[in-house]
Symmetry: C2
Subunit: 622 residues, 2 copies
């Protein structure tokens, strides 16, 4: 059954995944090293990424033919080296994807093959020190100099420094620099410019480019983050990534996108697929955490009924109650992410060049801005809880949780602070209320089910309807407030930022949890046999545990009577006990080869501890 379940979780690209994992199992370069100086950790991440790139299992051109291959590569990479995976996502999605989509033939001819081979390493210069939370106000300028037909890239203030720029501190040759495009005093909005930041042969910064290494971080220390500043750096007119906007030799600006704000959204488009990349990496991290923690819990003995150390801690209710809901959440989020990938791919528009319906495009934005936060927070809770439930052993770097906790924090605020993305999703949800899909859902949500017995809460259909009702009420609550305010910007800001923050966040949360539940139910309905039965339990645990977390709301809204609500925790406990019987099957379905787990506690940890290994796994057999 594990194979069948793995195919369902992996969803796509089975051959590419198999090959990438096999490559990493076989090549000793991928054996984790923990006590490394910053410089070595960075070089190792780059070398590893090169091996993956040279294997030919993915390419920047996959964005045109099959973007799922790129997401799959992210999932595989995150199993092994979170820094390598982070460098991959910046090179292929943010930098490479932007060159591909915003650039034109001359940029493609110059760079696409070097992006695939890492002969041209790039970075994505969007975030600024002062405007990470308000990029549209960024202070870097690109001023067209008519006399030389060049753009002058300039960091106008200290707050305009490009900040957190991955690949910047040591490895990047290029940066896509986003800047306010100024021509003859007029601001045409934010555009992307291809700027060489280092000389290929000397690797020294180009004239006018200042690069500061950002140093040590709480995780992902193989990633070389930098501050970049530009002092009147001149680039040719052709440096503008001109798929949508261009400037001719006479300084005449033309754009297929009329509004400057829309231009900004278009140039930042790779952030959308970037959120899928991050979600993919976060799901892998959660799978790895659970695989390690559950294998250890099954082999770690503690006090049994007689007082002797003869009972695996996995048999304790405490351990099951802590880990099984996270196992269910991770499977559920994986299924939802698969759905988001499908939806995104359908509108990414490369395959068909078709015109995307605005409603569909909006729905995909909402899905991406919802799934990335949910997967990031899930890794944070999963890795932290697994660490805690593995005790001291979980604290050793070689057992990986520290690295995964650090990775989760990167995922939570990179490429959009989770909370800000949830706000954005809520705003778009309100804007989408007049669509047929949402109208249908709101109609369903206006007819709550009658909950008359504990049994009602083991029906997925009933639970799903309760989730729809919650989503409906939360959405209508916010929409009602906004409708009452009208169009006054200050009043809208006031409500949104000072009074209704919980409601806004809760609205997206309710939407997201219903989407995840839907994805689980669809998969469950399309499965059969033992797999169907395990999917039922997992879906039920996901739905009931999340309901337990918000139980007072369901009671206060008269959706679940008190006398039935009070039994929810007991049902959750029983499900935890039941699913814990199946832990091995589920973990095997994560498709992590033995050779990639590499955490001593997931294997023969007594044997590992016989040796003097200084906390490393290299050269160890266990």
């Amino acid at each position: 059954m594990s194979e069948e379940m793995q195919a369902m979780l992996d969803h796509d690209c089975p051959e590419e995944r198999r090959r990438l994992k096999q490559l990493m199992v076989q090549d000793p370069l991928f054996i984790p090293k923990w006590n490394l100086p910053l410089e070595e950790e960075r070089e190792l991440a780059l070398e590893r990424l090169k091996r993956l790139c040279h294997s030919g299992n993915f390419s920047i051109l996959d964005f045109r033919s099959n973007p799922l291959r790129i997401f799959a590569a992210h999932e595989c990479a995150a199993l092994v080296d979170v820094s390598m995976a982070t460098k991959m996502t910046v090179q292929f999605n943010l930098f490479g994807g932007t060159v591909l989509k915003l650039g034109t033939k001359r940029h493609h001819d110059l760079l696409l093959s070097g992006i695939d081979s890492l002969e041209d390493v790039g970075c994505f210069g969007l975030t600024e020190l002062g405007y990470g939370n308000n990029a549209v106000c960024m202070a870097t300028t690109a001023t067209f100099d008519l006399s030389t037909r060049e753009f002058v890239i300039h960091s106008t203030t200290p707050l305009a420094q490009k900040y957190w720029i991955t690949n910047g501190a040591t490895h990047a040759h290029w940066a896509v620099v986003f800047a306010q495009l100024l021509i003859g005093g007029e601001n045409h909005g934010i555009h992307g410019f291809l700027v060489r930041i280092r000389d290929h042969s000397t690797m020294l910064p180009m004239p006018g480019v200042t690069i500061h290494d950002m140093g040590h971080k709480m995780g992902c220390n193989g990633v070389d983050n930098a501050k970049l500043a530009f002092d009147h750096v001149r680039v040719p007119r052709e440096a503008l990534l001109d798929a949508h906007s261009s400037v001719d030799a006479h300084g005449r600006f033309t754009s297929s996108i009329p509004k400057p704000r829309d231009r900004f959204l278009r140039v930042a488009d790779q952030l959308l697929s970037g959120r899928i990349c991050i979600a993919s990496m976060m799901v892998s991290g959660a799978k790895m955490s659970l695989a390690i923690a559950l294998r250890y819990a099954s082999s770690r003995l503690c006090v049994g009924p007689s007082g002797a150390s003869d009972t695996p801690i996995l048999s304790y209710q405490l351990q099951q109650r802590a880990l099984m809901p996270l196992l269910a959440d991770t499977v559920a989020l994986n299924l939802a992410l698969n759905y988001v990938k499908e939806r995104w791919s359908a509108v990414s528009g490369f395959q068909s060049g078709q015109r995307i319906q605005p409603d569909t495009a909006r729905e995909v934005v909402i899905l991406c801005c919802t799934i990335k936060p949910m997967c990031g927070w899930n890794l944070e809770r999963t890795a932290s809880t697994c660490r805690e439930r593995c005790g001291g052993q979980g604290y050793l770097s070689c057992n990986r949780f520290g690295s995964l906790i650090g990775f989760s924090h990167a995922g939570i605020t990179a490429e959009g602070d989770n909370r800000v993305l949830f706000q954005k999703a809520a705003k778009e949800l309100i804007a989408s209320m007049n669509t047929k899909t949402v109208q249908d859902r709101l109609r369903q949500g206006s007819r709550p089910p009658k909950i008359t017995s504990q049994g009602s809460l083991t029906s997925l259909t009933t639970l799903r309807l309760l989730y729809v009702v919650r989503e409906t009420r939360k959405l209508q609550h916010i929409a009602g407030i906004m409708a009452g305010i009208g169009k006054s910007q200050p009043d809208i800001f006031d409500a949104w930022m000072y009074h209704e923050s919980d409601a806004v966040q809760g609205c997206t949360q309710a939407f997201g949890e219903r989407e995840v539940l839907d994805a689980c139910i669809r998969t469950y309905e399309n499965s059969s046999g033992d797999l169907k039965s395990i999917l039922y339990d997992i879906t039920l645990l996901f739905a009931l545990k999340r309901m337990e977390d918000d139980l007072s709301w369901f009671i206060c809204q008269d959706l679940v009577p008190k006398n039935i609500a009070s039994h929810v925790p007991e049902t959750v406990r029983q499900l935890c006990a039941k699913i814990s019987q199946q832990w091995q099957v589920i973990i095997e379905s994560f498709g992590i080869p033995e050779g990639l787990i590499q955490a001593p506690i997931a294997g023969d940890w007594t044997r590992y501890n016989l040796a003097d290994n200084a906390g490393e796994v290299i050269d160890m057999e266990f």
Copy 2:
């Protein structure tokens, strides 16, 4: 008002605290360094600890005269270097305290002055690889050899290796090794032996002692943890720490403690004060996190009503809702910890030599086993949430959250896994049900207040009574189940470990939250003026936010009507907004001198970012 509030939070030893902090502000050795090799980080932690020790502000003898000085030193140390603080707690509390309390004159003469000066560095050899969760079953033996009148210390299996031993990998000369004492085939239970593990001049391991470095960890990398193994290491008869048990030259064993299990509890006694030490360090970490995050939130500008970046993020409801409950929890836990320290000191018995009432001793055990977990989890949530709410800036090591998250994880499972301590506390709570104090409380808890309006939930007296009712019901629930089972060990185990885990944990949680609330209310009642008013808000926020987290329980138990419960979140939001107006006063009351914060985002971070500092703060002015 900050000074007054600081005096209340600090509670004791104001002069020692002031001197220790001043010393660390003035000595450049204490400026944080982040990108350090393991070896340097360890040496730095030791050097820093030496400076503190040589300042004469605390001594191992304070356990006799004023143990509060030792706890205060822990609080100060944790503000600066979490590794130094960890090494301190092992040297002074676990190692030093054990030598002081279990040793006799010969051990004191040999070691006490060297412990204070760090000329004799020690470790605490309790935990074993296989028995970290069941130390009473440990497999290290100390066999008395009558022919030579020596003890033979031996690690009988790989699982018997002493594991996680702080100070072991590089710095320790001595270990207190706990072992099963065997004389002529008879096991007299676990005793402590003073074993020299390194030669003072060469620093090489002594013959028969194997030391493995445990390597890189997710935090506290300045702590040199080791695995220690003993291969028939012979120590003289005088190595036994013989305050309670002794072996004479003829191999005759005598003990003032009749039962072997009680001997184990006595030798592990320093774990109790150790939990206070850890709680102290955790509270300091949470204060530091909040000081940094709130200072940044007040200076970090983001989108305002006009769209420009002109509004401090602290004014957003989202930021207030995330941080203010943690601020209230941290103050509340600090007040509760002060009470636990007082209670522990009163029974530590050094001052008076008085006989402690068993009921009082048990209550202190319960308090210590409750406060340490609560403070550890609070730091974990506080540092993680502060990190998240500071965005990318929170991810840089120099802004400290990564170090504090790592520290929290150490606190959560060191010196007793939090969940195991909560179990222990619950067990002792049941055993204490026949005492007058508990009986009185149960009587109060049998008369729930009538909650008839929202206003009822702003009365501290009413909230306190609701907390007592919850504690009463949860305790009686477990006690009822245990009473039904009787004395069958397997049945007790079954109920405790396989069925009632949530109830057991919930019981201690309810006890702990009521104790914290009591400590807040006592302090509130003894204060006046503005301080009284701020304490009221903080106490109310603590009580209501914790109630919100468990709201469905209060509703299902018919303690709070739905129509009133549904307003709790709004009241919490209003309190968050109100307290956020006072953030500066509260943060100042934490008594962290400007020179110890040392996180760029807590100061002029624009200026910090002008320089090429590679993520370090050394030589920086900001």
